[in-house]
């Protein structure tokens, strides 16, 4: 079905946007915290390897952990100070992970060590990619996939279009929105650099129509020689998912099990692109980011720019603290974000927001039997049958779930959102996907062992 006239994709849901809390608030810079916690695993792929030891002095922007392999990313000190220890620290994933703790120097001017900023015009594609890699740039939209990997598609794969994701379809979050409004030139510069790396001739920026000021800012600042089209999209969740965005913008479906590459597209989030521009403008690696601290459970919602590694507690305190009826602190948006148990976990490169929900906002805990109303089928953006998958999950039939295309599930939460019986469908699918992946790993290992014994 052609969806170009809708400027959207099929199915999906319309949760209340709730962006008014922070949409019009300019980004505010917080004073440096006393302490920073920089996990070695802030990105998709291999964790970085620490290259400092306790007691070392570091300047703002110094590399403190190096990438371990290609799909990995280095970590930099986001403030000048002294390495205290490299120990387990609370992590936004909910567990504890190794992190470098830095005591921030109280009276430092926090001026980064002088460095040579390469003029990007003179650099080749590979040199640009290396600079992005050394800058520790990862996707800022949440998944934190290392950007340099995306910039280097496999040999022989032509990239026709670069697609920038300015949808920010999760309720509450306004970091991409504020980036587009306050730093539209950076978005265009980053886009230009990315197009050079990829050899892409054309680019599209998709922005949902609930951000008219962002669309206006991007159009107003568009350089005349840049082949980019800025398109407003009908508001719908999960439009920011790569596959949905590609469908909405160019009406093509990424094949099942495939990548955007298979339709000649690379998708990047606008904030990540702005960070690429920053790397070349300031010479600073990715050491700070914009975080929306919002929700009805926070006293003074705001958009903050903070050093990566700042503890979440520090952000919440800066926004007036939790209200008395605060019930859940979510990192990221309320549809796909992770609930935080320990407020001492740090802001990471992929932390888009801190959304504090109250008892009235969180999903009810009473479930009813499935009445086969079919709403989940009409919500699923990848046209799965969550009703069937849910009943298979209830019976523990993992393989049958796989046969029914569970692999396509993005765990976007639409099915759970619409379910009138409050059945945790998406949650079960997330768990089943993990189980299936582990099972596949075990079987590979067993196969290897059998091969070695033969």
């Amino acid at each position: 079905m052609n969806t170009a006239f809708l400027r959207s994709f099929l199915h999906g849901v319309h949760p209340p946007e709730s962006k008014h809390l922070t949409a019009a608030k300019a980004i505010r810079r917080l004073p440096f915290p006393d302490e920073l916690v920089l996990p070695l695993s802030q990105h998709a792929g291999q964790p970085a390897r620490a290259i400092v030891k306790p007691g070392d002095r570091v300047e703002r922007g110094d590399k403190i952990a190096d990438a371990d392999g290609w799909v990995s990313s280095p970590v930099h000190a986001s403030a000048a100070g002294t390495v205290v220890d490299i120990e387990l620290q609370p992590h936004s994933s909910g567990s504890y992970k190794t992190a470098i703790r830095i005591a921030v120097e109280p009276h430092s001017a926090q001026i980064p060590r002088p460095r040579v900023i390469p003029d990007w015009h003179g650099l080749s594609g590979d040199e640009l990619i290396e600079a992005v890699r050394q800058g520790g740039v990862v996707g800022l939209g949440g998944a934190a996939f290392p950007t340099h990997v995306k910039l280097k598609p496999p040999e022989g794969r032509a990239i026709e279009r670069l697609v920038l994701n300015g949808c920010e379809c999760e309720p509450y979050l306004t970091t991409d929105h504020r980036t587009m409004v306050e730093y539209p030139e950076r978005v265009h510069l980053g886009l230009r650099i990315m197009m050079r790396c990829l050899g892409a001739k054309r680019a599209l920026i998709g922005v949902e129509n609930n951000k008219p000021d962002a669309i206006e800012a991007l159009r107003r600042t568009k350089p005349d020689d840049l082949e980019v089209e800025i398109l407003g999209l009908t508001v719908k969740y999960p439009q920011g998912a790569e596959k949905m965005l590609i469908k909405a913008l160019i009406d093509r479906e990424v094949p099942e099990g495939g990548l955007p590459l298979d339709v000649g597209v690379v998708v990047q989030n606008v904030a990540s692109v702005a960070t690429i521009a920053e790397v070349f403008e300031t010479g600073l690696p990715l050491i700070e980011r914009i975080v929306t601290v919002t929700g009805p459970g926070i006293r003074r919602p705001e958009n903050l720019i903070v050093p990566v590694g700042t503890r979440i507690r520090h952000l919440i305190d800066a926004c007036g603290g939790l209200t008395d009826d605060a019930a859940e602190v979510v990192l990221g948006g309320p549809m796909m974000g992770t609930a935080l148990g320990d407020l001492d976990a740090p802001v990471m490169k992929g932390t888009t927001g801190v959304v504090v929900l109250t008892e009235a906002d969180v999903r009810g805990r009473v479930t009813h039997p499935c009445i086969r109303c079919g709403r989940c089928l009409e919500a699923c953006p990848v046209f799965l049958n969550p009703q069937l998958l849910g009943s298979l999950a209830g019976k523990g039939r993992l393989d049958a779930m796989g046969d029914n295309h569970l692999g396509l599930c993005m765990v976007c939460g639409c099915c759970s959102y619409v379910c009138p019986s409050n059945i945790p469908l998406s949650q079960m699918f997330g768990a089943a996907k993990t189980d299936l992946r582990r099972k596949a790993q075990r079987e590979t290992l067993r196969g290897d062992a059998a091969g070695a014994n033969a």
Binding site: G258, I371, S421
Partner: protein, 333 residues
Amino acid sequence: MSAESRLLVTAAPHVGSTDSTPRIMWTVVATLLPLLAAGTWFFGPGVLLVVAAAVAGAVLPEHFFGRRGALGDGSAAITGLLLGLTLPPGLPLWMAFVGGAFGIAFGKLVFGGLGQNVFNPALVGRAFLQAAFPVAITTWPAATEEWMTLRGDLFATPLMSAAADTVTAATPLGLMKFEGTGTEVLELFFGQTGGSIGETSALLILVCGAYLALKRYLDWRIPVSVFLTTAVFAGALHLLNPEYPGPLFMLFSGGLVLGAIFMATDMVTSPVTTKGAWIFGAGIGFLVVVIRVWGGLAEGVMYAILLMNALVPFINRVTQPRVFGQRPKEDAS
């Protein structure tokens, strides 16, 4: 920081829509009440007793043998109400009660309760009554009696032979089938005819159904598909042989409108896929015309829906949606 010590940690999504299964069910109950009021207007206050008996029959087994708190979801109340609305205004109360109890016990609880049943429980109850009491369930008091008069033999007791002493009137379908007389379509549309308590006013049922469809509490595709199929099939037959009733008569007589809007759309016993909904409705429309025209019964809506209920698992299986980015069969690895 007292709020911090009480923080929840749950899996995403952390928010949900405000609709709930009980809200859907109770809204359906509320939209059935105008039909009950219309039935009372046409056939006198006795119908309230019949419907109350059917509801009591449905609710009691659900309460004692169902999930704990199952009554709260409202689904047993719907079953009782729907069954009551399909009964003749003068049916002995104990029969209505038994019908409701049978429907819930054998149409729903034995399958495992809400969401597990194959057949619409209200229709299971009615099919049981049709088999057990074929005379009583086809005795239609006239709509023309003094309003306050209790029709039929409401207070008959089991094992007593009914002392039927009422003015009866055939239903429009019965007239057509057995005497070859038609009824004005307008009369059918507004409901001033003999028939079951809640089935006579097509207009009112359509209005209530439209409300539910707008709230997305019923799948509009099912009734639309039933009506289209019935109209086209009956129309074609009527063109071939004008002795067969025309499409408008077919649509607005008997329980077709009530069945298509309130029975066939039962979420549990209808397909989950949109394509399946069209097929399901078409099957019902087709069977209704076949039974009415060539079958031994005047009315065929109940059996048409029950037969199509049985096909729902099959329909679901063959109408699975094409998934996003699905590759054509041949190059799937």
